[in-house]
């Protein structure tokens, strides 16, 4: 215990510790004001939506993306009549893919020939998941009141999964929904069940947006791309549907591509580990303290230098801010290395915010010490 005290004393210097505490207090004050004053609502929304993970995914875009060998998209954006859609689906199924996700909801019967054809094909399909959508959310009871299904699914008792995705920013994929006390697996959970033979019980999972190219096979080139379909996972739907666009950390993306990323996340070998809980906050405090120490050391050094051009330059707000920015970049780079190479996600948002307040908090501590202790 005595050794621990000595070590803690050696690491945590009183001034630096006080400056870190003040920086956290300033951060808390800012959060309180932002989230409780209506005028700052847009800022609060922006802060809520910020995650260093998004930044890391964006950084990953700089290196060339891999092409998925497992998941392909069969695009039917320009195909509108159900008879043709059924023919393409039949053609895809004949190539024996490992699983098919039909990302289209054929809600009501439209034309008798096309509907009959579609029904015949759907009945024959194996290893296939059809989509349905939860609709009309009841915000008070936090559930959906209606569902939109393909017209033939109930009669034929086909495998079905929901395709609801977050409209604001899709970071997570819901794997199981609850509605009226009943559990509804999502289309991704159903696909995983087909592929791995085990039901997926998780509620949701954060999507790994490591940039990946999913081959898009046009509906009229199925045979020439047969090798990419056999024994692979086929996502069947519109890859260029303009109304089906969603916001993701990689920018705007089509719904079917988001589903590809979600499925890849669940079935791929390397899972991202999120650093959370007590360990996360302990590390955040440690990193914040280190950054405050660095910034205070810089300030002390620059103020301790004899007056001259260099010392004046180092003391300017611009150069001090540049130093803080450099420190932030270093932390982001280290965080990115862990994210990219070790698949460990550590959200640096609080640490970076404390760094932004570090110079102010150091000044406040200096001011307080000067006017409290020295006068005595």
């Amino acid at each position: 215990m005595r050794y621990l005290k000595t070590i803690m004393k050696a690491i945590f210097r009183p001034r630096q510790t006080a400056a870190t505490v003040v920086a956290f207090m300033l951060l808390g004050l800012l959060c309180f004001v932002t989230f409780n004053v209506n005028a700052f609502n847009p800022v609060a929304q922006a802060l809520k939506g910020f995650s260093t993970k998004d930044l890391f995914y964006r950084m990953m875009l700089a290196s060339p993306a891999d092409t998925s060998d497992v998941i392909v998209i069969v695009d039917i954006t320009r195909l509108h009549d159900r008879d043709s859609i059924a023919s393409v689906l039949e053609e895809v199924d004949a190539l024996e893919p490992a699983a098919i996700d039909v990302d289209v909801i054929f809600e009501r019967p439209m034309d008798s020939v096309g509907d009959a054809h579609l029904r015949r094909v759907a009945e024959k399909l194996q290893n296939t998941v059809f989509s349905f959508r939860m609709m009309d959310p009841d915000r008070e009871r936090k559930e959906f009141t209606r569902q939109a299904h393909s017209f033939f699914v109930e009669d034929l008792k086909l495998n079905e999964g929901s395709v609801n995705l977050d409209r604001s920013m899709v970071r997570d994929i819901a794997l199981n929904f609850e509605m009226g006390g009943e559990k509804y697996p999502s289309v991704i959970a159903r696909m995983v069940e087909i592929l791995q033979g085990e039901a997926c019980d998780e509620e949701s999972r954060s999507i790994n947006y490591e940039p990946t190219i999913f081959r898009i096979i046009p509906y009229d080139s199925i045979q020439s791309n047969a090798e990419f379909i056999r024994s692979r996972i086929v996502m069947f739907g519109g890859a260029y549907e303009s109304i089906d666009m969603l916001y993701t950390p990689l920018g705007q993306m089509h719904g079917i591509e988001v589903l590809c990323y979600a499925l890849k996340t669940i079935i791929e070998t390397e899972q991202m580990t999120d650093c959370t809980g007590i360990l996360y906050w302990l590390l955040t405090i440690l990193f914040s303290y280190i950054s405050v120490c660095c910034i205070m050391a810089y300030k002390e050094k620059s103020f301790g230098m004899p007056d001259g051009f260099i010392s004046d330059l180092l003391r300017t707000t611009l150069v001090t801010s540049l130093f803080v920015f450099l420190l932030m970049t270093t932390f982001i780079t280290i965080g990115f290395w862990f994210f990219y190479k070790q698949h460990i996600n550590f959200d640096l948002t609080p640490t970076l915010s404390v760094m932004a307040f570090a110079t102010t908090s150091a000044d406040l501590v200096r001011f307080f010490i000067k006017h409290t202790f020295t006068q005595k």
Partner: protein
């Protein structure tokens, strides 16, 4: 001019034929061991359980369950690759993150032989595998054993494995101390 065109066309056709033949023969890996939980090979719509001694093409899509394990041989680099990651992916991607263990070429020959010998010669192979016996004698002492094992196993070898074995034996002939008469016998399969 016409002659040149015909010759060029022939050359192009030959090149395309060679390229397509190369493209159509993906590298295959011999399965040494499957963990307790079944590993699934997605063969079209069918799901097949992978068993030891199966040949898996590098682009095969497989599902390894949580806590599952798959060990394959890479006969081109003479390595044993152990996959412990769970998930669904093509074998090539799984191999990227696998742990690799190199074997001497003699050991590899022994292991291949073990696979084909229906476990008849486990003692001899065990000696080769360990690299030395309990008295600390080196494997050179056991070349006779290797010869016996290979000769025995070659008689029972399934036809689908002969190509792999020939390739391996060619490697061995170049670089290790397996007696050349054994290699010659093997190549005459």
């Amino acid at each position: 001019m016409r002659h040149i065109n015909i010759r060029s066309s022939l050359l192009v056709m030959l090149f395309l034929l060679a390229a397509s033949m190369t493209a159509q023969t993906p590298r295959k890996f011999l399965v040494k061991e499957v963990g307790e939980k079944p590993v699934i090979l997605h063969d079209g719509k069918k799901k097949v359980h992978v068993a030891s001694r199966d040949l898996l093409p590098i682009n095969a899509m497989i599902t390894i369950p949580k806590g599952g394990k798959l060990v394959v041989y890479d006969h081109t680099s003479l390595r044993e690759l152990t996959i412990k990651e769970a998930g669904t992916n093509v074998l090539a991607k799984f191999l990227d993150g696998s742990s690799k263990e190199s074997y001497t070429k003699v050991t590899f020959a022994g292991l291949i032989a073990l696979l084909f010998s229906n476990d008849k010669q486990q003692d001899a192979i065990g000696t080769i595998y360990r690299g030395h016996d309990s008295n600390g004698n080196s494997i050179d002492e056991y070349t006779a054993d290797i010869r016996t094992v290979l000769a025995d196993s070659l008689a029972n070898i399934p036809s689908e494995y002969t190509d792999i074995l020939k390739e391996v034996l060619e490697d061995i002939e170049c670089q290790c101390e397996v007696p050349s008469d054994t290699i010659t016998n093997a190549k005459q399969l």
